[in-house]
Symmetry: C2
Subunit: 211 residues, 2 copies
Amino acid sequence: MNPRAGQTKKRTRIQAKNEAKILEAALDIFATFGFRGTTIDQIAQKAEMSKPNLLYYFRRKEDIYISVLERTLDEWLTPLTELDPDGDPIKEIGKYTSLKLQMSQNDPTASRLFANEILHGAPMIEHVLKGSLKDLVDEKAAVIHHWVKSGKLTKVDPYHLIFMIWATTQHYADFKIQMRAILGDEVDQADYFEKAGNTISTVFFEGIKPR
Amino acid sequence: MNPRAGQTKKRTRIQAKNEAKILEAALDIFATFGFRGTTIDQIAQKAEMSKPNLLYYFRRKEDIYISVLERTLDEWLTPLTELDPDGDPIKEIGKYTSLKLQMSQNDPTASRLFANEILHGAPMIEHVLKGSLKDLVDEKAAVIHHWVKSGKLTKVDPYHLIFMIWATTQHYADFKIQMRAILGDEVDQADYFEKAGNTISTVFFEGIKPR
DNA sequence: TAAATTCCTGACCATTTGGTCAAATTAACG
DNA sequence: CGTTAATTTGACCAAATGGTCAGGAATTTA
């Protein structure tokens, strides 16, 4: 019987193993080629199984895509949840930025997957953006707003500050190819992301106008 | 006879009109759905002509895509060329940032088109990135480096500073849907980009650490 | 106006691709 | 071991899609 038909039947070992294998392969392919650019055959090949067998676990291409998105979303939102209202503002924002940059370094596919989805109008995850993401951002924007009010930060709009952090850090995952075209293999060296982090925090904290 | 077969025959009025119509329609569609996500039929419908007629002007889907990319590339690089080595560094970078942000506001499709292309590995424009783009960036990075050396700017890496400017400004085109999900219709108001610009220049110039 | 050229279209084709299905194979279990 | 359920596969289908082509309509040119 099809495993996804019988709601929450007991999950077999084989089932768990194959589903994981599929999702792992799918993340890579979807992140590179987008939803429409990806074929089921590609995923099946990368997951080392036949197409009908893959479709035995996920009935439709869309099901795989949604599963991959959901799986990555949690991980993606975690860093922001850790922004501590009681911590030192500069340190907290520094930690957050650094964490996001690390994610761009260690798991660029996740970033590219979302970039693709959003660029194409976010047809599958719009409700998440308007739901849990918006709630989380609203909450943390309030925290930042409070920091600004109490004079611990320069007067900036909290939302746009968050957008700036997202933009700069995710850029290192999404546009890495452009960076490599300009800087060469340097972008694959170990100290590249360190340099990036230094520049980002210098600009964010001090600004480029000499004091 | 097919207009693209006879190299540089005299361009007809009809030809010029239809080619422009096609490229305009194609920009929109390609920017939204990416190369593989776009069908020739979609472009033909938006350009108000039949598919065979469209293929009379551009023999292959790829030809349209490349034309659209090339057409937008020049416009895209212009602002950076205007960074004046003899101007005031803060003013020059402010002008550049503001110009790029304006482009995200007025022509977000162009930004999305490139984002798509680069996300997918830049298969069509890699040579441009490694060529004229790299040259231009190298040149302007040298200018910024000089500004830093002479103490007119905080000590930052020129390349990463340029990347930061690209990231923050283009984010307002590429991720507008996410912003709208979080902020609502505010993002379509006239003063939204003004607020964005203010935040960006405050952070870039002053930093978020209070003086 | 008549010939030549450009422009346009409906019909058509080959390939790709998402998805199905019956039947074979393997694993699980009493 | 034998029965039952889960897994895998090759063959197949229908729709979508990139692209072709012969010929008709419109436009330019002589």
